[in-house]
Amino acid sequence: MKKIEAIIRPGKLDNVKDALGSNGVNGLTVTQVIGCGKQKGNTQVYRGVEYTIHLIPKVKIEVVVIDSDVDKVIEVITQVARTGEIGDGKIFVSSVDNVYTIRTGASGEQAL
């Protein structure tokens, strides 16, 4: 099983979730994050004092899927979350050793 972590623009969350859902991927977990990279931050001025905010609000979506679903998920996210502007975000894929469903105690792929 693989874990897919996608850091995307907050405004794209609903779309990505829906697109994944219509591709049969229903389980996911979302975290509010801030991040930086190529996208430059914005400058905020409070009473004349400038604060450059380098860390920009993003949303992290985590989906754990069986290996054969990885490509599909990545394609869906890449398509739906893309605007073409710097700051669209990254997807990280890593391996998961095991999964458990707390409610049933099931583990492995059937736990998903």
Partner: protein
């Protein structure tokens, strides 16, 4: 006694009381999340302590029988003799106890204003001591000089309708001194110290504006035409200063901010405070516009240049705005608005501006010296500033053992 006047001053007193919790919000929204309650505390403990200080000793020091023009006598200690009948010396149509109550609210908010400059780093016991000493040795005498029968600035002819000297200049310059004595916040200029909750600040500004009608119009001590004029001047200057700040921000930085509009409004309210009972609404526009402008410059340019850490701009707003207001009174005052006042520069009386400048100078020098002395004396007994660790963890947790928001429930 007049029930209409009494009703007005009773309600005005309540409105001025509300300003201090309003100030807590105004200041509290501008600090970092970890210091909200510590910042609130400064205002709230002022309500508690100075309310008691005032009825026990403060009122009589400020308004008791004059002693050489410098201080009131102890005749009204513990409100002894302050009753339901009017005291014609100060307000012939309202009960003396109501006049006392109204003045109390001014005494309460003034030390709370100072807390803006020392936010996020002063120890709580030191702050309490400071407030009690400052109220007794700075506020009460200055109030006597300016407003007490026999007070020397009053006798000199200084005009201060609702507290330019007494409230804003005294607190503003003391705030600057306190900021300098305490030193800068750790990480200033390096870490982000952006306001944690601007809606809270804007709400506070709204309550302050509301309460300021009581503060200024109530200072007419009656529900009359003058009070009406003061009301309009107050609103006009606040509006003009808000617009001025918005405008200069737009020119200088490209964008108009909500914090700027709120800050501008407060600057205008400060600036009009001494003048509001002596000038016309059209003059108030000008006083407000300049008030917004000078405070903007003080806060956005001057502070950075000189490098003192007036955290929430108590000096930039009250010191600078109050000074402008006191001088503006000497320029724009006219007897057509208030025959008990005087004419200012614009109306041919050059000397009034001199008197105003003198009264500002006296107040500034006194406030600065007294604040230094008070802080040094307190420093002999207890530390003024929190430890580095306490500062890093925030006042809420390290001084008060609580946190403002619990995010995870």
């Amino acid at each position: 006694m007049d029930t209409g006047d009494t009703a007005f001053i009773l309600v005005s007193s309540a409105m001025v009381l509300l300003m201090t919790p309003g100030l807590a919000l105004f200041y509290g929204g501008m600090v970092r999340k970890k210091n909200v309650l510590g910042t609130f505390m400064h205002s709230w403990i002022a309500i508690g302590l100075i309310s008691l200080q005032w009825i026990l000793i403060g009122f009589t020091l400020a308004f008791g029988t004059d002693q050489h023009g410098l201080i009131g006598g102890l005749d009204w200690l513990g409100l002894n003799g302050v009753g339901m009948d009017p005291n014609a010396d100060y307000a012939a149509t309202i009960p003396a106890i109501v006049f006392m109550a109204f003045q109390m609210m001014f005494a309460v908010i003034t030390p709370a204003l100072i807390s803006g400059s020392i936010a996020e780093r002063m120890r709580f016991p030191a702050f309490i001591l400071f407030m009690l000493l400052w109220a007794t040795f700075v506020y009460d005498p200055v109030a006597h000089w300016v407003w007490g029968i026999g007070g020397f600035l009053r006798n000199m002819g200084a005009l201060d309708f609702a507290g330019g000297n007494v409230v804003h200049i005294s607190s503003g310059y003391s705030a600057l001194v306190a900021a300098l004595v305490l030193g800068k916040r750790k990480g200033l200029g390096k870490e982000s110290m952006a306001p944690h909750h601007l809606p809270m600040t804007v709400l506070g500004a709204g309550l302050l504006w509301f309460g300021w009608f009581g503060f200024n119009a109530g200072s007419a001590l009656g529900a009359n035409g003058l009070a009406g004029m003061v009301f309009v001047n107050t609103n006009t200057a606040a509006a003009a200063a808000a617009i001025a700040w918005a405008f200069v921000e737009r020119i200088h930085r490209g964008k108009t901010t909500m914090l700027g509009v709120a800050s501008g409004a407060i600057s205008g309210l400060v600036a009009i405070t001494p003048a509001c009972g002596f000038v016309t609404p059209l003059s108030s526009i000008f006083i407000g516009l300049v008030g917004g402008l000078v405070c903007y410059i003080a806060i956005s340019v001057m502070k950075a240049k000189f490098g003192y850490d007036d955290a929430l701009d108590a000096f930039g707003c009250h010191g600078i705005g109050g000074t402008w207001g006191a001088l503006a009174t000497g320029i724009f005052a006219t007897k057509t608005i208030n025959s008990a006042g005087a004419d200012g520069l614009l109306y041919g009386n050059v000397s009034q501006l001199g008197i105003q400048a003198t009264s500002v100078l006296v107040t500034v020098v006194f406030a600065v010296v007294a604040t230094i002395v008070i802080l040094k004396v307190i420093g002999l007994f207890t530390k003024l500033r929190v430890s580095e660790e306490q500062e890093a963890n925030g006042l809420d947790l390290s001084l008060h053992g609580e946190t403002a928001y619990s995010e995870f429930i």
